[in-house]
Symmetry: C2
Subunit: 75 residues, 2 copies
DNA sequence: AGCCAATGTCAAATCCTTTTTACATCGACT
DNA sequence: AGTCGATGTAAAAAGGATTTGACATTGGCT
């Protein structure tokens, strides 16, 4: 769709879960370390399925990990 | 990622919102009618950004529109 | 100094989502 | 019978997400 107005709390959640490493999160979600790096760097937004896996890994909801800033936020 | 173990409540929400048409939802989310059709038919899961737009259109959270059935649901 | 784990960058290939276009069906209405 | 709006199908092309592999950096530890 557009650029990537989606921010995430992955890095924070990772540290709040016992110094969980990028590799550990990647393994838990069945993806590559590259994907975790790219997501934390905000290079792109994950697929919905991956968003669910990440959220479930941290025991929270999708909306608690990812935040969408609407580009049409006309005051 | 995998196949598409993600179910959604789009059709139901559409009707609960005043007989909202597929085209109207598509317009509200900035996508094509084809995309809405494919999503309701479960052909694939939307991008995370589109998931957010759909949820916001209905005034609910992403987790309220989409449900992920983990393939590893060993009883 | 040297090692190792964790993190980061880059680029090509692959897979999945979305668009576009064109056509088919069904029900309501005249 | 004919039209119109809503829904459905199909397939190619475009765009974005994920993988793979190889290499660079930083910090802690010995």
């Amino acid at each position: 769709m557009g650029g990537t107005p989606i921010r995430n709390e992955i890095r924070r959640l990772r540290f709040e879960h016992g110094e969980m490493t990028q590799q550990a999160l990647a393994d838990a979600c069945g993806v590559t370390r590259q994907t975790v790096i790219a997501l934390e760097a905000g290079k792109y937004a994950p697929s919905l399925e991956l968003a669910f896996r990440i959220a479930r890994t941290f025991g929270v909801r999708v909306d608690d990990v990812f935040r969408w800033e609407d580009a049409d936020a006309a005051s």
